[in-house]
Symmetry: C2
């Protein structure tokens, strides 16, 4: 370790501190800011990211990177990540970055309007400009990183996995779904007819203060330490803040407890990842989470794998009854499973069950890859969307609001992000299988509301690894193999296809 490397560490720590300030200001904007603060907040965030960019691209950084030497696995990985970060930051001309920021903001505003009107034509010109700039960005990053243009965008969200990894996995899933979905639907219909069980809705009411108390208690059970965390409300639930002070949000509806509860469990999974990052490399690239797919694996292993398991449903039923009263039958694990593990084809990604969710992602992955590659133009999106959706899920969206206008991502300039959702779901199943093998008492513990075995295993296998490894190597170290979607399809078979 030489002086140049130490200078770089100090500089990256400073950049991360600016990032922490930005994270707090983002949380504030979503959770507590009065509406009149929005314009000033935008300027504060722009000033901070401008300064970060200057710190990252200053001439001294290139000089230090040329000289720097690091020893040991962690510091070597850290230095590699510094180089990658610097390469991406310097690959893009300032004029392109600024044009992108402006175009994204303009398009996002148009999109809100277009979605409300369900009129794609209203946003098409703005999206054309966004796509044009994304193509330019992808080309510049591709040149700097020697990846393909679309892979260079993907790398910005999840290092270590590209379209050629994803493509066959998604094709196989499409194949699997073609048989599994009708089968799951038939089993559900059969069970309904046989009344075993007829899903009995939870009666409610679900007063918000009791929901808040329950959500907080469950987040604590999963392992969130409220000395270093907050739980608040926002329109779109998210996990923000910093590793030392993680902020999760949810939204409450007095008609339903599932929305808030599973929202909190999902964000708690993200939060535990941040809390468990390696403290010895805090504020260094190698001390950060390994990427968006890795992050999603941690929210989904809590929400989907653990908290919708038979074991946990046995635990949560009595908790719900204690909070909201009502007849015990509704809280029976089999009834909760019928309510909360229901398969249903629908148009909206964020409402989808875990079996059909990947279909939503596969469609978006194919379209955005074609958009960046130039095989698809913006005008062709609605038709391509509807055609692809019909092929994947057998339904045709009745309008663009329930089709290609539903998600913010593209309209805000995020291309290459969507695959992370399904890569995360698959990784969650693979990690859960490995955790169960390593910790034979895991399910018995979950049935007692005890997350210790799962959490301890995740801390060691995932959280504590930071960004030392790319996505595939992280899975390899934790589970003995790179991403293997059969753990996910086996999980789905066990949960949805066992009559």
């Amino acid at each position: 370790m030489n002086a140049a490397y130490h200078r770089l560490k100090a500089r990256f720590a400073r950049i991360t501190l600016l990032g922490e300030a930005q994270a707090m200001l983002h949380w504030d904007a979503a959770a507590v800011m009065p509406p009149g603060g929005a314009e000033a907040r935008g300027e504060q965030l722009a000033a901070l990211s401008g300064l970060s960019h200057e710190l990252l691209t200053a001439p001294q950084v290139a000089e230090d990177l040329a000289e720097a030497q690091a020893e040991g696995e962690w510091d070597s990985a850290n230095l590699d990540l510094m180089r990658q970060t610097h390469r991406r930051a310097t690959a893009l001309p300032t004029a392109l970055v600024e044009a992108t920021t402006r175009a994204n903001a303009a398009c996002e505003a148009r999109w809100r309007h277009a979605r409300a009107q369900s009129d794609f034509a209203l946003v098409a010109p703005a999206l054309k400009e966004v796509v044009r700039l994304q193509r330019e960005t992808a080309a510049a990053l591709a040149e700097a990183t020697r990846l393909s243009p679309y892979d260079a965008l993907m790398e910005g969200y999840q290092r270590g996995i590209g379209a050629s990894d994803v493509e066959p996995i998604f094709a196989a899933y499409e194949q699997f779904l073609r048989e599994a979905l009708p089968q799951a639907e038939a089993l559900q219909a059969e069970a309904l007819q046989a009344s075993r069980p007829t899903p009995r809705p939870l009666a409610g009411p679900f007063p918000v203060p009791q929901q808040q108390a329950l959500c907080r208690a469950m987040a604590e059970r999963v392992g969130l330490d409220f000395d270093h965390a907050r739980l608040d409300e926002s329109t779109h639930p998210f996990c923000g803040g910093t590793p030392a002070d993680v902020r999760i949000t949810t939204r409450y509806s007095a008609d339903s407890v599932a929305q808030a509860l599973f929202g909190v469990l999902h964000e708690t999974g993200h939060a535990l990842y941040e809390r468990g990052l390696p403290a010895a490399f805090a504020r260094q690239p190698v001390g950060e989470a390994a990427g968006m797919a890795a992050h999603e694996s941690q929210s989904l292993i809590i929400e989907m794998q653990a908290c919708r398991s038979d074991a946990f449903l046995r635990f949560i039923g009595p908790q719900l009854q204690a909070s909201f009263g009502g007849a015990a039958e509704a809280y029976d694990p089999a009834n909760l499973a019928a309510l909360w593990r229901r398969v249903e084809r629908g148009f909206i990604r964020v409402d989808a069950d875990e079996l059909t969710y990947p279909a939503h992602v596969i469609l978006r992955f194919r379209l955005e890859r074609a958009l960046i590659g130039g095989e698809l133009e913006v005008e062709g999106i609605p038709a391509a969307w509807n055609e692809g959706f019909a092929r994947l899920l057998g339904l045709t969206p009745p309008d663009d609001a329930r089709g290609c206008l539903q998600d913010i991502h593209w309209y805000d300039g995020a291309f290459g992000y969507f695959p992370s959702y399904t890569l995360g779901a698959m990784a969650a199943a693979q990690l859960m299988r490995a955790a169960r093998e390593a910790e034979p008492g895991l399910d018995a513990a979950l049935a007692q509301g005890d997350f210790t075995p799962l959490r301890d295993w995740l801390r060691q296998a995932v959280h504590g690894q930071g960004s030392r490894l790319g996505f595939q190597d992280l899975l390899r170290a934790a589970t003995g193999k790179p991403l293997d979607p059969s753990d996910f399809t086996n999980h789905l078979r066990g949960r949805y296809l066992n009559a």
Copy 2:
């Protein structure tokens, strides 16, 4: 206006944006941060202030200041303030700034312990180091500003007024108090004996949700727009945030409504000042508030001048009754006056009434001036405090916790700040008198809970002036004369010495 001036404006805007981020992080730390976030927050704030300092002291700034030309009153004042800010920032060697930060933090931590034990000896060594560094700082600033050392420190809190202005004003007040205080006490005792009125305590209970609703409604009446503001809770009430998004806090006790209500009214006065700053010079030195004494004049004109006036007490009584119920007699304006305008000698500054409050400040001003001047050493503080307190208020503190250990200021390195409290109280009386002359319907409006005449006058005379004028010139423009303490003593005579 030349290019150098425009570059400076852009740079100061950027520095102010960093300051806005810091303000939000400070608010967050006081109002909502989980305790485990404190250490990281300290590092985030240190990184932001380090970057601000670098932006302010970069060689380019000196070059631009040498070349810059500005025309018109506002831009000329702005350029002057840039020069002053730069002069102060470059006057101090980095090593001194860093040593000061460390010594202040260490001393503040010791002080919490010493105050809890009421043992000055525990903090004396740490305070000696703080004072040593403050003397060094004052000397360096004095050389750069050509002010006396203590005045150079005062300038950091309130530009445009020095110890030689304050000294005779405080001496005269001491003289006034010597007669006024026993007289006010005698009148109070007489009234009590004559039962006109016997102060009837408000019965309560005062449930916190109703207090919150009332406080918010009153802040809105005074003129705070909650599209650009929040009201929260914190241990020490304060006004923070930014002009576009101002954050006030208070604390609630179920036993008393006065504490929270007057706390909110006080902070609302500060908040209105921030909200009313000149938008055309937002994020420029001339667009900021004129200093701490000016700021305190705005909180006190709302809390003390307006909201403890006979007129407003007529309005607030029925509001309180509507919120908390109970017998109407307790809400009678004369009873509220007897409760909330009570004169009482006490040891604690923050609990003091407006007549005795200046005595607390005068004592601190004299001691801190002597400390910076070298006529007093740290070891001599407790004796000098007790002797001075006895001379001013006729009481001897029973221990140092109720004496020289009560305030955080010195132990955190703040010397030259204390006079602002009393300068603000005096300015508030002077401004109120001018406002009443300019707006003859002001009190009739207050009796209806209508702050429009007062607020409109303050916006024009104070808030909208930003930092264009120093403290004395601001008062001269608003009231036709520099600080004239007789408006304050006349106000006190009218309120406390009219049998």
